[in-house]
Symmetry: C2
Subunit: 550 residues, 2 copies
């Protein structure tokens, strides 16, 4: 297999001139003594636990490759009876994937070095705070001026409770809190509306009319062939409750669920009115406002790391050890050889060739494609097919939390058909003095008004658009802002990457010689932290199995 | 007006024998000098701000009584130009209402004393922690054995973001966090089901079939007279998205939204199946599971006070001052006199008659009705009409948070038609070692299996019922539990009170002589902390206006 051992081995290691760069460890060649498979496995199981046994089973070709999804982390004990030693691994990229690989391999004794071109770890998992500086490709530097405790999750901001991200947060002691992804009190605004409406009103009216229409059709006999009489009665009862219909006529005539013009207190509340017609409600035509939490990925509740979504990458980096992470170090060449991998870098110490037994490349695929080396034409061709997606956000800090004080909105998002797409209100710092909201979160190129603009223009446009929803206060008391356009972030150049033909991913899920690829882009959880973690676990398992079987 | 000054004034103050009980302050009778109304108001406005002006306007009969809902707190400055002095006020009951009254009046300089029969403040706003002891009427004492940091909100547990409760938490520095009232990952279980299903599956299937049925009816022409062709197309597009229907046939054939049999990772997720028929889904017949967040009172997100819902009452008590709150002191007689109120109490110091200018009775109405005195037959009759509602909860502490670890449920509730009604998973302490869930929260008498039982039987039954949803682990690792049946709580005797004829409330919203009534039961936010606060504000405003106008 050409890609298994590398098509173009470099004959000799380049002189690095770096004093603390050890020569590659010779691969250990000792084999276990002559024992039966069963005795070996039982012995390993007794001494090293299930993890060691499973790893050894894999090494012996016994473990099914796809059936078992549970991750069994490599551990030092896995080597104790096999006679092998942990290998030296170079990990390219200190984003979530790279750090997770280094963390998991490091736990088992692998000698990992993480190489990162940017000046900080985390990659797209970027949380910006007061004092941070960053530059976009072709734009001036931004200096973040948020007050103490304020932050901006410029990248991923949400975790679904079933995702492996939660497990890593638990394991590493990173506390989580609710990320409010649905708020009935937030607004919906489309350009056809005279004024924004509360999400609760959209929901009540839409559910009300859907229920009324279906109840009337049921009573007119339209469902007689689909449903039994008993089912029809249950359906009618459900619709009356679901739509808050008149229990006799099944008419929708508005509902307190829309919101109150005057909330109840000592006196009864007064329903927010007038109630729009079914035609008006259909005309809002922003289903996203009512279905955004329908998917498993976005179902409520969601979670965020307390204090910023870089909590996990910070915890990873701490466990890995800062000395193993080389920042400001750019990969300029990757060569996979029969017995090692050479990775050439430009860093603070000039040009250095790092050598290891294996390499895991966790950079965005379209960036790996540009790095010279000997990965082979099929691999480079597959990598080149990656299409980076633009996405961007702006965070705006205000001197007071007017959305809580005046609009009674605590977290969640206002959905709109404007190019800002949505406004996210913070799910932390309730009752605080200042507050930071997300003034746009745009995805994809169709409406990408903001990426080409310099920051000050994005700021201006975000305020102009937000004013359509919140009025003049949206432009009042603004303290500062910061914005990120992911296609313009150096060494990242995209919010995430997709492939028109996912078939090419099969090529990239296999190692190219001694070089493995990993990242959310290789998974079915693209653009989620969980995708990075799942990919890291898979590659770590594959690599560990290979090391144990060599 | 008979009720305004009291129908049966007692001629003389009883000897109290209590040394620190000052005689009632004689009412101040000085009047402001001869100025015009306008000049007076402008002067008050300039010197005392809007609060003083509004209070003075009320005193002069200028303020509309019902139109303005915003509360303007009494302040010391309100007295500075009117020549009056703050009065002495006895407040009966140290629940939320009583404490809010004492807090608001105290800010303006009123001399308040709060009298509470129980051994702690808070009333139904009761948070139980390890070491707490409490007794139910006719039952043994319970000793709470929860671990450090664990707590049980035996009473109110949730705040809607538009409620005044949030404003008080902000004002008093009581931090809040999200109370998860809806969780797609939690279960739904009815006795007709073979096994519990995830709420997400119920929602996806119900929305799927509703959408399919309505789309088919639309395409069959059943809505042609109700909707234009254009509206019908918008509706169909919406239904396809809302129900996750086949975009060509408008069939519902299941959806990833139901949940995954295998969640996505490197490989695609596998949809949870099989998909039940429309008849099966209608047969679940638990609309509450899908509509519980529909109302404004229960719309997501909701909030809770960090560390327990007694945070606000603790903050109130601290501001009021412990010396002004007499616990273990039972009211045995209330007499409203022309110039004062006498309240007779049995407390640690024996029988004491407290005297004040005014009294605010915040006890449950059916308990006030039993207290001898001279409130008058119409008032007592109205109070007697109160019907206490039973409600109860059990909190169960486990040695591990299996609902997070195994079920991936972080907060929210499982809804069921069993007599436990629901199971609430905690919205705090995520990733912790131990966890406390609510094993039942029953409301009303229809299914009130638990109130008559002693605690150990409630515990046993709750575990038996919960096992139907969660299996044997529900009875494994149980550390301790505590349960409250509100009709059996001394000096409370009900979760809340309702009135068959709300007309009688008009009588009780007026003072009986110098005795005012306040409580959630007088409002349209019955059983909410916000109801207590709104009632307190109204009575405080009324009383303050009266004092300023005397």
């Amino acid at each position: 297999m050409t890609t298994e051992e590398g098509p173009d081995p470099r004959p000799a290691q380049e002189e690095t001139g770096k004093p603390d760069q050890p020569p590659p460890a010779p691969p250990t060649r000792r084999r276990p003594g002559p024992v039966t498979r069963r005795a070996l496995l039982l012995g390993i199981g007794a001494a090293g636990g299930a993890g060691a046994m499973y790893a050894a089973m894999g090494a012996l070709g016994l473990a099914p490759r796809e059936q078992k999804r549970d991750f069994i982390a490599p551990r030092p004990g896995d080597f104790s009876l096999t006679g092998r030693a942990a290998a030296k691994v170079l990990i390219l990229g200190a984003g979530v994937t790279g750090l997770a690989c280094a963390y998991e391999l490091g736990k088992a004794g692998y000698d990992c070095t993480v190489i990162e071109a940017r000046d900080r770890v985390g990659g797209r998992c970027l949380t910006l705070r007061g004092g941070d500086r960053f530059t976009e490709i072709g734009d001036e530097q931004q200096v973040v001026r948020f007050g103490e405790g304020g932050y901006f999750n410029a990248g991923p901001a949400r975790i679904a409770q079933w995702m492996v991200t939660m497990d890593y947060c638990r394991e590493l002691g990173v506390p989580v809190e609710v990320f409010i992804n649905d708020n009935a009190q937030a607004y919906v605004y489309t350009r056809g509306m005279k004024a924004p409406i509360r999400a609760a009103a959209y929901r009540a009216d839409m559910y009300g009319y859907l229920s009324e229409l279906l109840a009337k059709a049921t009573n007119a006999g339209a469902l007689n062939r689909r449903l039994t009489r008993a089912d029809r009665q249950v359906l009618l009862d459900f619709l009356a409750e679901f739509g808050d219909l008149d229990r006799r006529t099944y008419d929708y005539g508005g509902s307190d669920r829309r919101g109150y013009a005057t909330p109840p207190g000592v006196q009864p509340g007064k329903m927010l009115g007038p109630v729009p017609s079914v035609s008006e409600v259909l005309g809002y035509d922003l289903p996203r406002a009512l279905t955004k939490t329908a998917s498993q990925e976005q179902a409520a509740p969601m979670f965020q790391m307390v204090g910023g979504m870089d909590g996990l990458v910070r915890a990873f980096a701490e466990r890995i050890g800062e000395d193993r992470i080389l920042t400001r170090t750019k990969v300029t060449r990757i060569d996979t050889l029969p017995d090692r991998v050479d990775v050439t870098c430009e860093g603070p110490d000039g040009t250095v060739v790092h050598t290891a037994d294996y390499c895991i490349a966790t950079l965005p695929p379209h960036l790996i494609a540009r790095i010279p080396g000997n990965l082979g034409a099929p691999v480079v061709s597959a990598l080149t097919a990656a299409q980076p997606t633009p996405a961007g956000k702006i965070a705006i800090e205000y001197d007071r939390r007017w959305w809580e004080l005046e609009d009674k909105i605590f977290g969640g998002s206002t959905e709109t058909d404007l190019d800002i797409t949505r406004i996210w209100y913070p799910s932390y710092g309730f009752f605080g003095e200042r507050g930071i909201l997300i003034g746009y979160y745009t995805i994809g190129s169709a409406k990408d008004t903001f990426t080409p603009l310099p920051h000050r223009e994005r700021h201006r446009r975000a305020l102009t658009q937000g004013k359509k929803i919140h009025g003049e206060k949206y432009r009042t008391g603004v303290l500062s802002s910061a914005s990120v356009a992911w296609t313009r972030q150096p060494y990242i150049e995209g919010a995430w990457a997709t492939f028109t033909d996912p078939g090419v991913l099969a090529t990239l899920r296999r190692p190219a010689g001694r070089v493995y690829f990993a990242g959310d882009w290789l998974t079915n959880l693209n653009a989620w932290i969980a995708g990075s973690l799942e990919s890291a676990r898979t590659v770590v398992t594959d690599l560990h199995r290979r090391v144990l079987s060599q």
